[in-house]
């Protein structure tokens, strides 16, 4: 069974729910992180192979490269996810500092109060 795909989509749905319905900036940012993590799980699952080995060539693997290629998991999604995690860390860190600043300026974390620009 492909539980990981179901759980990945559940995480995405959960993240969307947090983004749409929560009335707190910190929770919205958490929702964003959860949504991205769902996508990461999805990506990792794409490259997963049951009973596979890590895609790292070590000394004893050199003699049997074709066997290694047949057994190793797909390394590309892992590289993609690593990159994406780094990007996501930047976004979350930056969003949290912005939330701190907005709390200092507005005295609240409620996004519906952050609408002074409109007027």
């Amino acid at each position: 069974m492909d539980f990981n795909y179901i759980i990945a989509m559940l995480l995405v749905a959960l993240g969307l729910y947090c983004l749409l319905l929560k009335r707190n900036l910190i929770k919205i940012i958490i929702g964003l992180a959860v949504l991205t993590d769902g996508i990461h799980l999805f990506l990792i699952s794409l490259g997963y192979r049951a009973g596979g080995i890590a895609a790292i060539v070590s000394g004893e693997m050199l003699s049997d490269l074709s066997g290694f290629a047949a057994r190793a998991v797909d390394p590309i999604p892992q590289a993609l996810v690593l990159t994406s995690i780094v990007i996501n860390i930047c976004i979350v860190a930056f969003a949290l500092s912005l939330a701190i600043y907005s709390y200092r300026h507005y005295g609240t974390l409620d996004p519906s109060k952050l609408r002074r620009l409109k007027e």
Partner: protein, 116 residues
């Protein structure tokens, strides 16, 4: 570059010719303006320069058109838009996110319809 006329569909449009004509017309208009000033000398007085407000004296700060109501006639033509769409721009973050998701669904549906 030579003044190459461009054929856009049916008709003719020579950009250089048109620009020259526009400049010519501007020059003629300016000459008429200058000539008119020659013939009748302007006699500016404080009362003439002032914005007329039924005899009241207005300060320069007050004689400014409100920029939101500047085109109230045009806004009346598009009344449904200003009544229903404009209040949607609330400035609330959750609304923005809601519209993003709605937009995704709209685009999904539109692509599905078009590609069928």
């Amino acid at each position: 570059m030579v003044s190459e006329s461009v054929l856009f569909g049916p008709g003719f449009w020579g950009p250089v010719v048109a620009t020259a004509a526009l400049l010519l017309i501007t020059a003629v208009g300016w000459l008429i303006l200058i000539g008119g000033r020659r013939i009748t000398k302007a006699k500016p007085s404080a009362g003439k320069i002032q914005t007329y407000a039924c005899g009241e004296t207005l300060k320069a700060e007050e004689a400014h058109v409100d920029s939101e109501q500047f085109f109230s006639t045009i806004s009346r033509v598009f009344r449904p838009f200003y009544r229903y769409v404009r209040p949607g721009h609330t400035g609330v973050l959750s609304t923005y996110l809601f519209w993003v998701v709605v937009g995704l669904i709209i685009i999904l549906a539109a692509i599905a319809v078009v590609l069928r």
